[in-house]
């Protein structure tokens, strides 16, 4: 996955767990929870989806790394390098 694809991967996960939220205009450097309504259960769901789709483990102490899209790209980049993008909500 390229860095651009990682952004799409995260947006797709958010679109899956929070179908009422608009994800296309999310800014890279602003905290996700300041842009859309995400609570701690939503973040847990993001972590579970990452594990389910890509086999990526995010330990609890690293959850903070995922607070912005840029943070997701930086943190997940090495972990997702060899994986291919899975889309469920944004396909078509």
């Amino acid at each position: 996955m390229t860095r651009d694809e990682i952004v799409i991967a995260i947006k797709d996960i958010i679109a899956t767990i929070a179908p009422d939220e608009e994800v296309s205009n999310l800014a890279m450097d602003v905290r996700l929870r300041d842009q859309i309504e995400l609570d701690s259960m939503d973040f847990l769901d993001i972590v579970m989806e990452l594990r389910k789709r890509y086999g990526v483990q995010v330990p609890e102490e690293d959850y903070m790394q995922l607070s912005t899209l840029q943070g997701c790209v930086d943190y997940l980049g090495p972990k997702l390098e060899s994986k291919s993008l899975v889309l469920t909500a944004l396909k078509g």
């Binding site: 767990i17 259960m41 847990l44 579970m48 594990r51 389910k52 086999g55 483990q57």
Partner: protein, 495 residues
Amino acid sequence: MSDERRYYRGSTDGKKPRTSDPLAKARGEYDLIVIGSGLAGMTAANVLGSLGHKVALLEQHYNFGGMATWFKRSGGHVFDVSLHGFPVGMVKTCRRYWSPEIASRIVQLDGIRFDNPQFHLDTTFTREDFTEKLVSQFGAERSTVEGFFDYLRGLNYYDDPRDTVADCFERFFPGRNDIHRLLLEPIAYANGSTMADPAIAYGIVFSNFMSKGVYTFTGGTDWLVAKMKDELRRNGVELFNNVQVERITVENGRATGVVAHGRQLRARAVLSNANIKRTILDLVGREHFAPEFAREVEAVRLNNSSTQVYIGIREGCSVPWITDLLFTSTREQFDSPALCDFRGQSRTFSFYYPKVRPGSERFAIVSSTNANFADWAKLDDATYVQEKARLIEETLRELERYVPNIREISDHIEAATPRTFEFYTQHVQGASFGTKWEGLRPSMELSSHIEGLYHSGSVGIIMSGWLGAANYGVITANKVDLFLRAAAQTAAGGR
């Protein structure tokens, strides 16, 4: 244990007798065994089943659902035990961890009423409406009310739990016993909160309700649990009722399964949705834990139990619209411990109109009080029967203020006490809302003491309503998934 002694039919405390081996279809080994089908256990089982793990869910009762339960009585009566009501967050939780169909049945209650010597009001139970009432009816400063809501919303798990509900109320609304009553009474019935509990345990639940009001299921608990069972089966979870787990087996510091009805069922992980004290001190056994951890668990306080009176309205009769949920008291001043009084003056009435079960024309009313187990446990049998009758009579007298002809239109009345709750749920001391705040830590830490052993039963008050329970099931399921995947990888790597 003698099943003949435990299971008998026909009395108000009856369970169905077991007629066949409840584990006849069980395999010898699972990825995960879940003990107890309360909302947390069921939700965890469903999430983990959907992630591809082989899960068995064991329930001691014949119905699944734990405290989310119902029962039927002759005359066409169906009574829900704990249906009214939960916060709007349940919509998201059901959509995500159950099904869109279940989520679509969640509707807002139309009315919530308070009636006591200090105030009378109807409310939507939202922040906007409470703010309005606190300002216009109670004369509080708007900025103080806003500050109170913001403070509670801002509390999180890592904050100092020494700030109590009483401290917090006194800071914002000093000496305002009436406001304290408005703020605490409904949450006391929702999760057992008292003035002495940490503000956070109260604040999380109160804030959840205040976001959009109080919700319930259309279709009743029977419909809900039937749908959940369908969903569990669809996700490959094997369901077993009437199964009494005798113990959780531990070998070399690892959970290896359970023993039930004399049979060992093996699993790579065990998730107990039983009470945390029962799980650690009885099902596993304190000898498997460090003494200081066992002592910490022993010191965990339980929440109060409840009484309920179930009033079935005769077919063809009806109850005029009053409200959905009525918090009523004849007590002049609010006193938090008095909500559990043996001869309490405070109770809630849940009114079940035909809208609850579309297609049915039936009405029912369920009254609830908080109660202390010890008050009921000590009674001899004859006194116990008398006291149940007394509870029913007092409840009817109270209800007559709102439904004057209740004695004519009702044709089934029965009471449940802390003893009833203990019998059906096997909760220690019939606890209706799990444990106090300090139960949270041993629950969350359990797997660091015994590998592969997890807990999701009601703890810390905040996990004790329907929403908190279901979400705590997911939080625990996430840990179990992580563990099972790591274990599978190790196994694969070792080949």
